[in-house]
Assembly symmetry: C3
Homo-oligomer: 343 residues x 3
Amino acid sequence: MSERYLLDRWYQAAFSEEVGDTPLARTLLDIPVVLYRAGDAIAALEDRCPHRFAPLSMGSVRDGAVVCGYHGLAFGADGACKHNPHGKITAAMRVRAFPVVERHTVVWIWMGEALKADAALIPDLGFIDRTPETARIRFHIPTSANYRLVTDNLMDLSHADYLHPTSLGGVMTGAEVTTSLKGETVVTQWINRDCLAPARFHARVPPPQRADAWTEAVWQAPAVMVISTSLVPTGTQRRDEDEVRALHSMTPETASTTHYFVCGTRGDRLEDVEYSERLRGMLANAFIHEDKPMLEAQQARLGNASFEGSRPVLLAIDAGAVQVRRQLDRRIAAEQDAALALA
Amino acid sequence: MSERYLLDRWYQAAFSEEVGDTPLARTLLDIPVVLYRAGDAIAALEDRCPHRFAPLSMGSVRDGAVVCGYHGLAFGADGACKHNPHGKITAAMRVRAFPVVERHTVVWIWMGEALKADAALIPDLGFIDRTPETARIRFHIPTSANYRLVTDNLMDLSHADYLHPTSLGGVMTGAEVTTSLKGETVVTQWINRDCLAPARFHARVPPPQRADAWTEAVWQAPAVMVISTSLVPTGTQRRDEDEVRALHSMTPETASTTHYFVCGTRGDRLEDVEYSERLRGMLANAFIHEDKPMLEAQQARLGNASFEGSRPVLLAIDAGAVQVRRQLDRRIAAEQDAALALA
Amino acid sequence: MSERYLLDRWYQAAFSEEVGDTPLARTLLDIPVVLYRAGDAIAALEDRCPHRFAPLSMGSVRDGAVVCGYHGLAFGADGACKHNPHGKITAAMRVRAFPVVERHTVVWIWMGEALKADAALIPDLGFIDRTPETARIRFHIPTSANYRLVTDNLMDLSHADYLHPTSLGGVMTGAEVTTSLKGETVVTQWINRDCLAPARFHARVPPPQRADAWTEAVWQAPAVMVISTSLVPTGTQRRDEDEVRALHSMTPETASTTHYFVCGTRGDRLEDVEYSERLRGMLANAFIHEDKPMLEAQQARLGNASFEGSRPVLLAIDAGAVQVRRQLDRRIAAEQDAALALA
């Protein structure tokens, strides 16, 4: 199974906290990459020494360069060899360096043409910056499924009532769903007015009071989503402190595996670390023990066949997911057309 | 490695006791199948939701239908969608349903053309029904070998003296062997007159008394065998209570893996549950720790090559196995010729 | 990935101590082989019964023959069937037999044309015979990397200063390196005069005394190396008792896995078994926890691509490894040309 990715966009390579002074190895879009901090910047290099193909990530970081653990060749953040203990440095002693920007607690990587890397294309995730660390909940969930299946799962949140009945579900059935295209983004909203709040919201809207539930999933190419939810007493205004908002980032590792990153934030009980831990447990259960096995089972049933080629019977609830797949396909095709025109 | 199976015949999908109110997932002839009880009948459906390809076996059973655990689509025993919580039901919302018959404590499945499914083709295993549950011993042994190798192993029981010297062996060497074709079945008999009984029969025929040992293996297409054995004092008549009889069923999971089912019965000590447990231990050792590793090692040595293509040096003891392979090949060829004639 | 091996040469199949009266299964050059002692000789047969392809190594050894555990066919050291309990012996009942010579505590096997097997081609490893068993240290390290990568690793010992800084390293940086071709062998020498001895040699050359370090790697086709090292006070003569010498033998198991054998000897403290155990621990750490992961990571980065095809950036330190690869390629090509000329 091979996959054509959208190249000239930013993908999440890691969370900021994952990258430090020791090399981090991570395969992204089929390419082995090594990440490390070089002074104020983060370096991202092809994780394969040009000498004998040892992974540079098995080495160490010294003076802003990663030193191969096999024979001591050192490469700087620009990919050029900085030190060869066995002779002079030649132009061939070089590894590919990828543009990296650290923003919103996320390490963004550009796997396409380096000259085109434009930090303005990084999605605005200011809500993460505005949330104190005590109210942020992060996950990195390696998932054995194509990244588009993970995106599909989130563009169609109706699954929550079936797959997550005791945790995230309870406000989707009966909701009015709309999908729209806003510039570069696909937005799906679920609005469930005058509904019965699920148990986890009873502290906020005790029965027999009725509630208005609002959920929004915003997708930006290639694979970054922000999901926001809010539940308030029927007829009242949504307030910031009622809102739960999370980044979901689906970076392809290979054609059949995905780095699924999540960073959840909330608007209330911002300093309540114990509450954060309880939420983390609930979310871990939903993402790791409910979503992940279902996504991996889907991928297993698909095998090497493509999703579209397997002719799925699509439902109304798939409007958002279909729109996203279409957007992605168009941009990948445009990128390839441009590459052919240049060639 | 791909394999052409005989399709228009009954295969054992499971033992009756394995199928209940929760879905049972089992791959049969390369196809993922989900089995469950729907009222008095047993349903067998393709284990892949047509919506997003989730395994239906990850869902639950309600009102005779299996409900997808991902988005709640429900499918009845006939494969048609019974409930779509997200809109109306269309003709495309359907999974393949396989004919199933429950008989002789076995769940039989028809993986070929449904219209041709004929319960009269199910092998007569009345001996299982006539044996009380206390004297039945069942195994389901997943084996990483092509189902034909498992059949070969049983059509050539001379291996017992070498592979199972301390359990099932001891009456094969010196036996007179005959193989015959009786209608649709292949029968091999081993008759060892005036032989020395192995230790496990000494209670019945104490030395220096001599014994007559009789063994019969009956094969029916595609992969169902009944093996009967009896040992009596030389010159005396075989009696029903001396006879040990077992179903051996080899259902292909994939080209290189097999669901090997065994149901052993006996004619004596019918209510002796403790004796059953001792027998079970002995048989488990022979089937799981002696046969299975040998079959899997054979398969490993063959790799992707076919058995015949690897040009085995066949011996007189292979007459039954060769006859079975020939019968199977003929029927598969006939089935394919008929399909081509229709096309 | 397929690989063309040099066939008409001796490979190490095992150490003498590994082969006894029970069958030893070992895949060599992609061929499953069974080894066992048959009287004074060692037998090496294709590990696949010609009857039903069971591994003969799952059987037992009796009267110099290996008896198949499935149906009792017995094969002698010449590969011919010696016993068929089920009928007469035919010419087809035969497995391939490989020439074997036991010398220098090593079991050598000839995987090419048997008639060409010439014991004079076995490398002279007399140093092993001259070392008492108390001062020999043996390893068999199954390594998931092509055998040429393991050879490269040893022809370029400069890696020791980087990969083994706390054990084997410390005398390579600054050494004068020469590679030469002596008849059939490739020899690389590292001479480091007037250097600082690493800590492990301080008992012999205490600081601030200076040392002369000498290291030599001798390769013989197809994959046998002898590595010798010595460190003495600067300006003094090397003595036999200062010398550490080891056999390193890289026998291909498959194109991407290697049986890496090591037998280390030394010139001093010959009866000191406790010292041997300490050395064994240090060497195990270097070979198993440092070399093996690096070699396997290299292979993983190469995947199915060839080393040369991946266009490595070679350094001066690779002169020996490159020379060995060239010698090997030439001999393999010559062997294939000869085979074509005959055909």
